[in-house]
């Protein structure tokens, strides 16, 4: 199939939709910043919608279907980061698509070098494994940080528990729910259920008394012991987010590693601000380069940690690991 991109570009098409503050002639190369992705087909674009946490209320979905039937192809595509995409939208209909989606409060996403729509797992209100409210946070982060310009794309995800469905290690910044278990000897009957429930070998029952011996270095903070204990002798008093930084997928994937533990909901905005401000300032000289690649440079990593510690203090763990290569092409 022939790519008509070049032909479109030289055609100087007119458009009445405001894209990045500009109305009039469209520049196909900058359209991506408005969530409009050029297709191979002449005049055709995929419109990526803004669906934080992959949650789409039915009222919005109804409006999306209505608009798609009028202006888009006969299917929607689910993007890899949980957004609905409407393919085969003619650029002449951009304004109608934007306006009609807005009637259902549905917004269009953003691509390019900026903070993207956050992804999240289904959420702790109904998922039994969920420890932290990922949907609440995805909504908050979307409202507060969406589309801020960065040297390159910047992706944030939230997982409610250590199963980490939202792959926090593959995002520029990932937050994973965790609970620190605390044991009360007085109420413990030595029934051994906690050591059976623990899949990590972090709890071993004493062979005589049956009472648990806890090895925090093996603990994933999943709360299985808390959920299983018949006498509630294991309790989760400290709850929060484990934070991973510098991950990415793509041609050269990187795995982000833990940089902080038990970060509270209210600390999350400050965390994102600190990391993205550092990146915005220090990433420029590297051009379109993801934060993970910059953090692999030892001096940059040290400077980054210094900035984080200045604002977030001892919330940053001792000796965190910079992002590491996850080589998939040349093994």
């Amino acid at each position: 199939m022939q790519d008509s991109f070049i032909a479109d570009k030289t055609n100087k098409v007119k458009i009445d939709t405001e894209i990045e503050g500009k109305v009039g002639e469209i520049d196909f190369t900058t359209l991506k910043s408005g969530g409009l992705i050029k297709q191979r087909q002449k005049d055709m674009f995929t419109v990526r919608l803004r669906c934080p946490g992959g949650r789409v209320p039915l009222s919005k979905l109804e409006k999306i279907v209505e608009v798609a039937k009028k202006y888009a192809g006969d299917y929607v595509h689910l993007s890899f980061r949980q957004s609905l995409e409407l393919p085969y939208v003619d650029y002449r209909n951009f304004k109608a698509v934007y306006d009609e989606l807005a009637e259902g409060s549905q917004k269009v996403a953003s691509c390019g070098p900026r903070i993207r729509v956050p992804t999240a797992c289904s959420g702790c209100e109904y998922n039994p494994n969920g420890l932290m409210d990922t949907q609440k946070m995805a909504k908050l982060v979307d409202e507060r940080f969406f589309a801020q310009e960065m040297p390159h794309k910047f992706k944030i995800s939230f997982s409610g528990c250590p199963i980490d469905c939202a792959r926090t290690n593959e995002n520029d910044l990932g937050f994973q729910g965790a609970v620190k278990p605390e044991w009360n000897e007085e109420t413990c009957t030595g029934c051994r259920i906690c050591s059976k429930a623990c899949r990590e070998g972090a709890i071993v029952s004493d062979s005589e008394s049956g009472k648990p011996v806890y090895y925090p270095e093996k603990c994933l903070y999943c709360a299985d012991c808390i959920r299983a204990c018949p006498t509630d002798s294991w309790q989760g008093k400290v709850k929060g987010w484990i934070v991973r930084v510098g991950g990415r997928h793509g041609r050269h994937p990187l795995s982000g590693h833990k940089i902080a533990e038990f970060i509270l909901d209210e600390d999350v905005p400050a965390f994102i601000e600190t990391v993205t401000e550092w990146y915005a300032e220090n990433g420029k000289e590297y051009g379109r380069t993801r934060i993970g690649a910059i953090l692999q440079i030892p001096e940059r990593w040290d400077a980054f940690l210094k900035t984080l510690r200045k604002r977030l203090g001892d919330k940053i763990i001792e000796n965190p690991k910079p992002p590491s290569k996850n080589e998939i092409h040349f093994e």
Partner: protein, 85 residues
Amino acid sequence: MTEIKVDDRLDLKGVVCPINFVKTKLKLEEMQDGQVLEVIIDDGEPMQNVPRSIKEEGHKIIKVEKLSGNSFRLLIKKGGGNLAR
């Protein structure tokens, strides 16, 4: 130590997850609040999952005993309802 009165029994040796839990749940549904069900389950996966699920359904495990061979005896007191958050 006083012996706990058992109202009903289920031997679930060799019964895999989640059938063992489903059988336990169905049996408890037939019983009255406060009655005690004795369940025998295998070590390993059943012991990893069944006690937690019983608790999440709002029942209380009042005794756990290791039996000879690779199994456990649980005494479960039927609770009022689902405790799931």
